[in-house]
């Protein structure tokens, strides 16, 4: 299986009046992702670390074929996310932290619905559902409406639904955000399991210890620019005191200095 390669992508948004007011700027364009490149390999977890508004979600959406970068290319395995989006969609999972499942449906229904949209046969759907629901402890709640479930359970259902087609590439945007320790551990443990199966995993986060514990490779993105990138240990090496935390704060400060000074 081939790696996932992000090659010099750039994404610019035109800011609406409202956005300009919120961000207190008169500039009409915002470069959300600025010449970003990285590579995620099968059997590895890549962590995209960055503060709020750094461009993480934008970069991940580009990989998931939901939006198109203005420049650059993204190769997912053997296909270009820009030119062969349908092929990429068959092989990729995308989970955003902005997702709220539809209240009215049961986990069972939603799993089946998205499985069918992926063209999976009923026998496989049943087998996969059983496996994933058991793994996440959803089976007891499979006929309960989403509205009546806890935040943690909802997130676990969202993850199961994102994985209905057993994809080789998994792109998760802040998958443990807002979860309690127990649920967060279930999620990260499962990501490790998927890595060991040889999947290519990309996740974004602004939480340092998630990266430290989980990731093989890391990229630090600030204001749309990739400030540090490489194997986790190598990146930590470049820090003045040998911790990821110091490196991260130094990079954020440096960027802030460039912007304001």
């Amino acid at each position: 299986m081939n790696a996932l390669k992000v090659k010099n992508i750039r994404k610019t948004f035109r800011l609406s009046k409202k956005q300009r007011k919120i961000e207190q700027t008169s500039i009409k364009k915002k470069i959300a992702v600025d010449d970003v490149s990285f590579e995620a390999k099968p059997g590895e977890i890549f962590g995209l670390l960055g503060p709020n508004g750094a461009g993480k979600t934008t970069a991940l959406r580009c990989i998931a074929t939901l939006i198109k970068p203005d420049e650059g290319d993204i190769i997912v395995g053997d296909y270009s996310a820009l030119k062969e989006s349908t092929e990429v969609r068959k092989r990729i999972a995308f989970l955003t932290n902005e997702l709220k499942l539809e209240d009215h449906f049961t986990p069972n229904y939603l799993f089946q619905y998205f499985s069918r949209l992926h063209g999976i046969d009923e026998a496989t759907i049943k087998a996969r559902r059983q496996r994933l629901f058991q793994r996440f402890g959803i089976d007891k709640f499979q006929e309960v409406k989403v509205a009546d479930l806890s935040t943690g359970m909802k997130q676990k259902i969202s993850i199961a639904i994102a994985l209905v087609h057993d994809p080789d590439f998994i792109v998760f945007d802040e998958p443990t955000n807002g979860l309690d320790v127990m649920t967060a551990k279930t999620v990260t443990d499962y990501l490790v399991e998927l890595r060991n199966e040889g999947k290519t995993i990309i996740l974004s986060t602004h939480i340092l210890h998630v990266v430290e514990k989980l990731c093989d490779r890391v990229g630090i993105i600030i204001e749309g620019k990739m400030k540090a990138y490489g194997i986790l240990e190598d990146v930590i090496q470049t820090s003045s005191d040998g911790t990821l935390e110091t490196l991260f704060f130094d990079l954020v400060k440096e960027e802030a200095g460039e912007v304001h000074g």
Partner: protein, 405 residues
């Protein structure tokens, strides 16, 4: 195709398993119409009873004795279904004065027979038929009531005398009828007006039904972020657009059927009092098929429009706000068609989305419609729906619309 069906089913399931939605879109419209029409029916019925006891003031000139005799029998005390008639026959009124009297209600009906009317009927040949001029004011119940009770007598007279000499009297127009159009009393709702109001009510309920589910189905996906999960599946955007529009169409159609049932159930009460105008029983199978197909076509256009608007909005609330102006336009269309002039027969009118269909519906309800306009409405509705679905497909493909901030 399979994917479209999957989406279709999911949208159907969403609504059909939600008790609150079932109540608001399937039960409420029918119930509201039923209550409203039954109420109006009862009110007008009371008025109608009062009218039946009214004494008809009839003014005539040169009335053949035979007719007079029938009418006198009709108003005879021994007659069980007796109608009170008071004859007036001053000879010194000109037509304008008579019209004024009819308009103001001093006289209910005027029958001006040509000189020697009876002789002319007896000696009727292919030449100019003798004329009977009738003035009545259909805006006044007493006057309509008079017209409806006296015209059959004249018809009977005509047939009796002609049938002796001609095989098919219906074929000959023996006299012409002319009426004075009075100012319609707004409190008096005639059956005609009821029929005219139906298209408005149906379209408004259609729109309201579609409006209560469309935003959730499309803008809701954006608001919840589920649109990303949907768009990252390998299905075609066209399939999403078709699935959404067709399911919404189906649901709105059921909602419209509900209003239909409401109408059908309240009709009997409406019929009783309806002595002046249209009887629903005389609609033919063809009429029903036409009505049914116009409804489907209209549903699709409305749902297509609402879907496109919903796709623009970021949230359900915003979608509802964006749809409001279109709802008002539809309301205005409905009101104009119901209370305005007769339904237009112009082809151009029928090319207009929604308005054309409402106009045609109103025409069908009042028996004034043309096949060509029916075809225009159907074909143009399909074209509009396809355009909306195409636009929706483009929007699902447009990241600026799907992921705007």
């Amino acid at each position: 195709m399979d994917n479209m069906l999957t989406i279709f089913k999911k949208e159907m399931y969403r609504v059909l398993t939600d008790r609150r939605l079932i109540l608001t879109i399937f039960i409420m419209p029918g119930l509201a119409i039923f209550v409203m029409y039954s109420l109006i029916g009862t009110l007008v019925q009371n008025q109608a009873t009062a009218v039946e006891e009214h004494t008809i003031i009839l003014y005539e000139e040169n009335m053949p004795d035979a007719i007079r005799l029938y009418l006198e029998q009709l108003s005879d005390e021994s007659n069980e279904q007796r109608i009170h008639i008071e004859f007036r026959d001053q000879r010194d009124y000109d037509e304008e004065t008579l019209k004024a009297y009819v308009r103001e209600g001093d006289i209910d009906i005027v029958l001006l027979f040509e000189d020697d009317f009876h002789e002319k009927i007896l000696n009727y040949t292919d030449e100019e038929p003798p004329t009977l001029t009738v003035f009545y004011n259909y805006g006044r119940q007493q006057s309509s009531f008079s017209y409806n009770n006296i015209m059959p007598v004249i018809e009977y007279y005509r047939n009796t005398y002609l049938i002796e000499r001609l095989e098919d009297p219906a074929y000959y127009q023996v006299f012409s009828v002319q009426y004075v159009e009075g100012i319609v009393d707004e409190r008096v709702l005639s059956g005609q007006m009821m029929a005219m109001m139906l298209p408005m009510l149906i379209v408004i309920f259609l729109f309201a039904g579609a409006m209560s589910i469309g935003p959730d189905s499309i803008a809701g996906e954006k608001e919840r972020g589920t649109i990303a999960t949907l768009l990252v599946t390998p299905i075609k955007r066209r399939e999403i657009a078709f699935g959404k529009v067709l399911s919404l169409g189906m649901l709105s159609f059921i909602s419209a059927l509900s209003s239909f049932v409401g109408i059908a159930l309240s009709l009997p009460r409406l019929m009783q009092m309806d002595d002046s105008g249209v009887s629903y029983a005389i609609y033919t199978m063809t009429d029903y098929v036409v009505i049914f197909s116009i409804l489907i076509a209209t549903v699709l256009v409305i749902v297509g429009l609402i879907s496109v608007i919903s796709a623009f909005a970021k949230t359900i609330k915003e979608a509802q706000m964006f749809i409001m102006p279109f709802y008002f336009i539809t309301l205005i269309i409905g009101i104009v068609t119901s209370f305005g002039a007769e339904p237009s027969q112009s082809m151009w009118v029928h090319f207009m989305p929604i308005y054309g269909a409402v106009n045609l519906l109103s025409g069908v309800f009042t028996f004034q419609w043309l096949m060509i306009n029916y075809v225009i409405v159907l074909v143009s509705s399909v074209v509009y729906t396809m355009m909306f679905i195409y636009a929706l497909t483009l929007m699902f493909n447009d990241e600026k619309i799907m992921f705007q901030k």
